[in-house]
């Protein structure tokens, strides 16, 4: 560098020295939503939501209560169909298939898109039956041995096998809250879904049980596409690779989780994640 460098040169250098803001190499997209609108009667709950959900990764939806994040989650397995006044427009594709295609079998769809709820809701049946139920009704096992294999494998993937292997015939409802939630995850993954939706899966759990679920989510993303709605921004920052911020029915900002929580672009996102409104 010579001492004769001009002021203008220096400016260019300072600009060039700024590291570019790049997204990671684009992963494959599992779910594509375009211009999704949801109405509950007259209420316009979701407005023109367009988002891509990458496969084998965790996508988190954050936002204040009533922002539409759970509504959108429920569009992904057509749970809103069960609400008579709900109307959904726009297009949602999973692996290229339009899930609102009238010819589509909704029961099959819900097997491909599993769901885990806020409060663990195991069937009032044995631990074994809770996991075996899905594969059995969908005809995924040809023999008892094969079904046993699916149950064991699912419980292992859900990190519950060691704790319940000696009492598979005990009732699922007798487990602790955290174990019940992992049982529900085992039940969801037993049918090898394309996508697992989780609606605040840890909000009824203590910190230790929460940590176990988060560890599990991190393991599961090797094989599954996970979408999680959470009120805990720290949780979204910890478990997800992509984050979308919903506010008043619109997606204000979406992107790589690392960037959303360090340098959000939109002021509303910044205000929300830093605790300035909510």
């Amino acid at each position: 560098m010579s001492a004769m460098t001009t002021e203008a040169d220096m400016n260019t250098q300072a600009q060039a020295a700024v590291m570019p803001r790049t997204d990671e190499d684009a992963p494959l997209i599992k779910v594509t939503a375009r211009d999704v609108n949801v109405f509950y009667g007259d209420k316009h709950a979701l407005k023109d939501v367009s988002i891509d959900i990458p496969e084998r990764s965790v996508t988190a939806f954050i936002g204040p209560s009533g922002c539409g994040k759970s509504t959108f989650l429920r569009c992904l397995n057509r749970m809103n169909d069960t609400i008579p006044i709900a109307r959904v427009t726009g297009r949602i594709e999973i692996k290229g298939q339009d899930i609102y295609d009238p010819a589509l079998d909704v029961v099959q769809l819900r097997a491909r898109v599993g769901m885990v709820f806020q409060k663990p809701n195991p069937f009032p049946k044995s631990i074994y039956e809770n996991v075996a139920y899905g594969p059995r009704i969908h005809g995924l096992a040809r023999s008892k041995a094969e079904l046993d294999g699916i149950v064991e494998d699912s419980l292992k993937k859900a990190g519950l096998w060691k704790e319940v292997q000696d009492r598979l015939q005990d009732s699922g409802t007798g487990l602790s809250g955290g174990q019940q939630q992992r049982l529900c995850i085992a039940r969801a993954i037993a049918v090898s879904p394309d996508v697992i939706l989780m609606d605040e899966p840890c909000s009824a759990l203590d910190p230790i049980a929460t940590a176990r679920i988060e560890e599990l989510i991190d393991d599961l993303r090797q094989n599954f596409t996970i979408v999680i709605v959470t009120h805990s921004m720290q949780q979204a920052a910890r478990v997800s690779q992509k984050t979308a911020f919903f506010h008043l029915g619109v997606v204000v900002e979406e992107g790589q989780t690392d960037l959303i929580f360090t340098t959000p672009r939109d002021k509303r996102t910044q205000d929300y994640i830093t605790g300035r409104f909510g």
Binding site: A3, T274, F277
Partner: protein, 237 residues
């Protein structure tokens, strides 16, 4: 910036910013006093600088503890997280600036009985003025979250380096002219190096301000003109 829903969080951050402003003011004063003490060979002022550096060290500890506590208690995100990390980094730089001023002050005692010509002070005086202006500007930029002024400081550090290189050559010449100058000039050279290092810390703070405001790092290839490391020293008979 809008206030937090939890007002105690705002109080924490304001308190942290207040402590840094105070520490910055004190570090600036130490640098100015250490140079004055050197130029006027004022050993009383020099001792005061050495004493006061302890206060700066304690402030750095306090700020560090408070920043860690804020992270633990509030789990800051985005701009708040950057504010806390910036506070940690700036307080580190200010602590080092205090140490360098102290080192200069210590040399005042060493040259006391060995004073040479005042013309030897010319270069270091000029360089110090520049560095003090840089330090003042960067602390203002930090207090006001002013990225433009911070980037100016970052760009102008090259001038300090260039001055240091020319001062290095000048002092070498004096030493070669008369070996009795060697002790005095060596101390001056170290003092000049301290001032040059203070300039570097000011640049670090400028980089921190840029990070604080934009969330992006300034890559470390700013113009450098300190060539003393590669300057040969030939003794001419």
């Amino acid at each position: 910036m809008t206030e937090h829903i939890v007002s105690a969080f705002d109080t924490d951050l304001k308190d942290l910013a207040g402590k840094l402003a105070e520490m910055g003011g004190l570090a600036e004063k130490l640098v100015a006093d250490s140079i004055t003490a050197l130029l006027t060979r004022d050993t009383v002022l020099a001792r005061k600088v050495i004493e006061t550096d302890r206060v700066v060290d304690r402030m750095q500890q306090t700020i560090e503890e408070q920043a860690i506590l804020t992270i633990a208690r509030r789990q800051p995100m985005a701009v708040d997280l950057r504010a806390v990390v910036a506070a940690l980094r700036v307080s580190n730089d200010l602590e080092r600036i205090g140490d360098l001023a102290k080192n200069t002050a210590k040399r005042v005692g060493a040259i006391e009985g060995d004073f040479r010509s005042p013309k030897l002070f010319g270069g270091i005086n000029h360089m110090s003025e520049l560095v003090l202006a840089q330090l003042k500007q960067v602390l203002d930029a930090y207090a006001q979250r002013d990225n433009v002024r911070a980037t100016e400081v970052w760009r102008h550090d090259g001038e300090v380096d260039a001055l240091y290189t020319s001062l290095f050559r000048e002092l070498l010449t004096y030493m070669m002219e008369d070996p009795r100058n060697i002790g005095f000039c060596t101390h001056l050279l170290f003092a000049a190096k301290n001032v040059e290092r203070i300039g570097d810390h000011a640049t670090n703070i400028a980089e921190t301000v840029h990070f604080l405001v934009t969330g992006q790092m300034l890559a470390d290839d700013r113009p450098k003109q300190d060539e003393t490391a590669s300057t040969p020293i030939e003794f001419r008979e």
